[in-house]
Amino acid sequence: MNDRMMLEIRHFSKSYGGGKKAADDVTIQVACGDIYGFIGHNGAGKSTTIRAVVGVLDFTDGEIYIDGHSVRDEPMACKRVTAYIPDNPDLYENLTGIQYLNFVADVFGISPGEREERIRKYAGLFEITDALGDLIGSYSHGMKQKVAIISALIHNPKLLVLDEPFVGLDPKASFTLKEIMREMCGQGTAVFFSTHVLDVAEKLCNRVAIIKQGRIVAAGTMEELTEGHSLEETFLEADRDET
């Protein structure tokens, strides 16, 4: 871990069509080497924030910086160093797994040698090598999730953004993903992910933010936040306080 900020969300707000705010004055800082957990109820504003971070969702209030670049003004510079894994990956179903991975590698300009090495490594870890020649449409949800993860890791991103990454993964794949996240953090990559699974967040993250009805109700290092209690107790207490 070092102090260089990889992701800075400053006073980000987003409301849909004049309705209630999905995100309200969200401020988060993720440093290089952080594994930052973003937790909250369903509909609390996690996915809205994440989609704005990765440049998919348009926003007007607040600022988001990735590696010092503004998501709004320099989206390409941000996207080049970021990888995003959505909660329900919509991949091209009529491509084979390897065709899709090749497409993403081409987009990031990865050399044939490097892409082969990384695909071999991660497909091996997720035990999906044999299925890469099949159409994605024939994959199970978990297999699609694995392909999405491999495609996210193929360009060695500086910031890894994951929305509910463990949903649909088998226990072994979940373990592998956690190991990969730790390994990447060790190399200085920042990981920012949303989850409902508090146990995972507690064991994996060094920093956490709790979001409720679009507002950050608690944020900090795991130790600061839990003060000796479990993350579950802390989360429920934050939830009660706000209510």
């Binding site: 069509g17 004049g18 998919v56 969702l57 926003f59 919509d90 179903e93 065709q99």
Partner: protein, 532 residues
């Protein structure tokens, strides 16, 4: 540029049936793809035959010089209309938007590639028209050999300007709608408003041609085509390029196409994220109060679900309810202008007694309402949600009954309204009016059940974009094309028979046939629902 080609290549590959054929292990699926190819080639052949027949007509009557302009106008009109209906589904709010936008692509690159994809996919259809007309022109006009490569090359540019025009309108509608809370409703209303405007514009232009001095110069069809080329300049450029080898014609057609492409996607790129964000988001009021929940029968529940599906998608609504909108327009216009006057306009003042056309009233209404049956595409529209139906304790036949009930609920009120308007305007006797309404009911029932047969037989759940099953699906093509041609033939037949025997007998006979066909189709649905 390399990235643009990469994205373009991937978009084409991701919807390529060849790729599925190559990698799928499902022999049934592979067979279906082969049949699909055969079907598409049959349609290409039909289009080539139709375009060649037009050229033969022009050649026979010594008007072959108009063929280049006619070719340009036909391709332009078709590409404009089809693109306008497809823009919303292809350019905005598509399924893989999040995945693509999270990759290092500029917003305008994604939009431009989506447009280029739409262009490449529709190009074979336009080339069929162009090649057939080129062959006809070559046969009758005996031009120099240089015409052919130029014709082929420039034909590829002909659809670009109208497609860009349609995409720009789609973009404007989407841009305006994105500023409203109920984005989809505003978008649908604006789309329908534009379609109505186009129809009125057509009459205004026709009126202009009829009333002012231009009429004197438009004595023949050939001159009329030439007149149209003066209004729509790209058609004139194309004509000049292929007939006079005009360099300015070539440069204008190619240059303006490329320039407009660059300008449009510069503009679209600027608000692309904003439009898609608005379209992909749903307003959350979070103030719902649970009061008075009602219990419906399963069939009604399925019908209600279908209603929400239709109104929840601008693409589906503008395609699925187009016939209903046109039927209402026809009814209102006929009431305002008068049946006799409309007949006089359509027959261009030929001395025809309007009463002999009365038996055609329910068929004219059906021609519009039966153009699209929601039952033809709704089984495929279940897509990835198909598991819901499969896992629920309901029989498939109940699901299809619900889908058919919805189509009837959608078409029957419009059928009654339009038929009544036409009957009142045509001063049809009460008994005739009742018979026309009964025939209308039988036709709606047939359309619903036959659409459902096509929908089940050609069900496709693995689509990437709903346009693929709403507009381009095999089920819709198999339902729509024969239906349209048969109705056109029937209109002529009932008018002819009505002059030879009692019109009521003709209507009753047709009602009986339609009812039997509806019953047979319904039985087929029940059989297919047991099998599928």
């Amino acid at each position: 540029m390399k990235r643009n080609f990469l994205l373009m290549k991937t978009l084409l590959l991701s919807t390529s049936q060849r790729n599925i054929y190559r990698y799928s292990k499902d022999s049934k699926k592979r067979k279906k793809i082969m049949f699909g190819y055969v079907g598409v080639f049959c349609l290409y052949a039909m289009l080539i035959g139709y375009s060649a027949a037009i050229c033969v007509g022009y050649g026979t009557y010594g008007m072959i010089e108009s063929a280049p302009v006619l070719c340009a106008l036909t391709i332009s009109a078709l590409s404009f209309v089809f693109t306008f209906f497809k823009t919303n589904g292809y350019l905005f709010n598509f399924k893989e938007y999040d995945m693509l936008m999270a990759l290092p692509f500029e917003a305008r690159t994604v939009a431009a590639c989506k447009f280029a994809y739409m262009y490449v996919k529709s190009l074979p259809w336009y080339l069929c028209i162009a090649l057939a007309m080129m062959a006809g022109y070559g046969y009758y006009a005996r031009p120099s050999a240089a015409v052919y490569p130029l014709w082929i090359l420039l034909s590829a540019f002909l659809p670009v300007i109208p497609m860009l025009g349609a995409a720009f309108l789609g973009f404007l509608i989407a841009r305006i709608s994105a500023g409203f809370r109920k984005t989809k409703i505003v978008q649908t209303v604006l789309t329908f408003a534009f379609i109505i405007f186009c129809f009125s514009l057509r009459y205004i232009i026709e009126d202009l041609f009829r009333n002012d001095k231009v009429q004197a110069t438009l004595e023949t069809t050939a001159e009329m085509t030439g007149g149209a080329a003066k209004i729509y300049l790209p058609a004139g450029w194309f004509c000049d390029a292929v007939t006079k080898f005009s360099l300015s014609g070539i440069l204008l057609l190619v240059g303006v196409s490329l320039l407009l492409f660059a300008v449009l996607f510069y503009l679209v790129g600027k608000s692309y994220r904003q439009i898609n964000s608005a379209m992909k988001s749903h307003t959350a009021a979070k103030n719902y109060k649970m009061t008075g929940l009602k219990q419906r029968s399963v069939v009604f529940s399925v019908a209600f679900k279908e209603w929400k599906r239709l109104t929840g998608s601008t693409t589906y609504l503008t395609n699925g309810a187009m016939g209903e909108l046109l039927a209402v327009l026809l009814g209102v216009v006929t009431l305002l202008i008068g049946f006799d006057r409309i007949v006089s306009v359509v027959t261009q003042g030929a001395p025809i007694d309007p009463t002999i056309l009365r038996p055609a009233i329910p068929l004219i209404t059906y021609f519009l309402l039966g153009m699209v049956a929601t039952t033809a595409c709704s089984p495929s529209l279940e897509g990835k949600n198909y598991w819901i139906i499969q896992s629920l304790p309901i029989e498939k036949k109940t699901v299809y009954q619900g889908k058919m009930l919805f189509n009837l609920m959608l078409t029957v009120p419009f059928m009654i309204f339009t038929n009544l308007c036409l009957c009142i305007s045509a001063k049809a006797p009460v008994l005739d009016t009742v018979l026309y309404l009964i025939l209308g009911l039988a036709l709606c029932a047939f359309s619903t059940a036959w659409g459902c047969v096509c929908g089940i037989r050609h069900m496709r759940l693995d689509w990437e974009n709903e346009i693929e099953v709403i507009k381009q699906g095999a089920a819709v093509a198999v339902y729509m094309l024969p239906n349209m041609f048969v109705v056109m033939g029937l209109i002529v037949l009932v008018v002819f028979l009505g002059t030879r025997m009692d019109q009521k007998v003709v209507t009753l006979s047709l009602t009986l046939i339609a009812a039997v066909l509806a019953l047979l189709s319904y039985r087929r649905v029940m059989i297919l629902s047991r099998r599928s």
